[in-house]
Symmetry: C2
Subunit: 299 residues, 2 copies
């Protein structure tokens, strides 16, 4: 099903677009007050897969929209992802000193600036979405785009998942509770990235809905693979201490279901995602290829 | 100039509208995950003046709009104000245990939940603004409303002021630097509250501009009075330790300019604010009365 796309070339061209747009969207390091802008750029412009912004572009392209037209919304998802990592890494939360081999934001800039940098990234994200959507649609479309992001990032999405995750540390939780955490903490934003792209790309309600279903499955698969990599990974491969979930007393898919069942579940979810994309035909090939990438990635 | 308005009655009716709208806008305490919603409600629904939301309503009414039509945007400003206080009170920032006689959010819910509650309030605020604006205007109006809020709350506004404030603690700063902190940390959001109300109330660009000038002066006056009250206040009156600015090594208007000059500056700014409102005639009476209130308040 994914034969039509050179995934590496697709990812490279889209990542270059996103990286250039991120550089433009973020205030420069010497814009006053410089400290906060340095802190924002430090985390956002760290090397990364840019999975969420590329999914925004792929969502738009899957419904016949142009990647370039939704770049600012793509950036917004990367800013929200970065803000969530900065806050998650704080001593009061996961207390991580390193992320992918680099010092975490608060280790470089201090906790106060790290908290504020996260706040500022979230704030800037909404500005980017609203401005971008206003170039493409009417008031209803702008509001729907902002609501899409706000729901995915708020207590019915990412923040909700993070709260339950923190409250579950060191406790026994059920498979349903683990699904809740993963669906909210990780899958909600990935789903919203695809949906926002499809919405702003001019997709029909049925297309946005189909892409959203694919995004939910893809997002859950992504987190299960993350859990697997945390068990399997080494310091070299992941750039963070392997097994950090175990160290923190976090229940993961492998710890609850075993590695083999976790791999099978991730594969099944990627199949679900592809099936959900059937109505979109060839235009959704990049999303299908990205789904395979999520399953097969090693970091 | 402020003869036409019974300020107490105006504030009471508008505060009742805002309090009811806040209760509706916030997820209920038993909505999952309950902890985060309890934390959000704890801080937002604490007794307060509701100055920022009332300014949104007054901004709309000053250009002939209806208070009820901009209530969700009014709530958004209170959520942003509450989020900023929750994050400011954290140990990594101002490290306050009490605010207005109540335990601060992190003392009740822990630091992790307090950080996330702030994040969630900021997120919900943008949703409220976008939805509200879409009921009143086209894509351009929705984007302008979101941008207004994002600029006031971001690194060119509140967060920017907070960063410089933190970096200035214990240092000698110039009058210009202190103005920068106060204008960004406090006045930006107050200005934006009035501007957003005027924008969504259907005000002309000239009206929004005039109201914004008034908001800037009013916001700066508000912070100067805050500084004065911090020096003069007692634990009973303010509900926090009097002189906490001094204790934290913060430069304030009174410490830099003396109490008499600070009072004169605040009074001059309130006069400036009223002058800026001249073109709006009688419809701006509530804003003028609120400006007097800002000057004369004792807490």
């Amino acid at each position: 099903m994914t034969g039509g796309v050179d995934l590496r070339a697709y990812q490279e061209t889209r990542r270059a677009l996103v990286d250039a747009a991120l550089d433009r969207a973020l205030p420069s390091e010497d814009a006053p007050p410089p400290t906060i802008h340095r802190a924002m750029r430090y985390s956002v412009l760290a090397p990364g897969k840019r999975l969420r912004p590329i999914l925004v572009l792929a969502g738009a392209e899957a419904v016949g929209g142009r990647a370039e037209a939704v770049l600012d919304t793509a950036c917004a998802f990367e800013l929200i992802h970065a803000y969530s990592l900065i806050h998650d890494d704080l001593p009061a939360m996961d207390d991580d000193d390193y992320r992918r081999g680099r010092l975490t934001n608060h280790k470089v800039f201090g906790e106060a600036v790290a908290i504020l940098a996260g706040d500022a990234l979230l704030t800037l994200a909404f500005r980017l979405v609203a401005d971008n959507a206003a170039r493409l649609g009417d008031g209803d479309v702008v509001a729907r785009a902002v609501v899409e992001v706000a729901e995915a990032a708020g207590t019915q999405g990412m923040v909700g998942g993070q709260v339950v995750d923190i409250e579950s540390e060191g406790k026994t939780i059920s498979p349903d509770q683990l699904d809740y955490i993963h669906l909210h903490k990780t899958a909600a934003l990935i789903r919203a990235a695809l949906r926002a792209g499809a919405l702003l790309g001019g997709g029909s309600p049925a297309q946005v809905e189909a892409i959203g279903r694919a995004g939910r499955a893809l997002g859950l698969a992504f987190q299960i693979v993350d859990d697997i990599l945390d068990v399997e990974g080494s310091l070299e491969e992941l750039g963070k201490t392997a097994g950090s979930d175990v160290r923190k007393g976090k229940v993961t898919y492998p710890s609850l279901h075993g590695l083999a069942a976790s791999r099978a579940r991730a594969r099944g979810l990627v199949d679900d995602a592809k099936r959900a994309l059937d109505p979109l035909g060839a235009a959704a090939e990049p999303i299908r290829a990205l789904a395979d990438f999520v399953l097969e990635r090693r970091s």
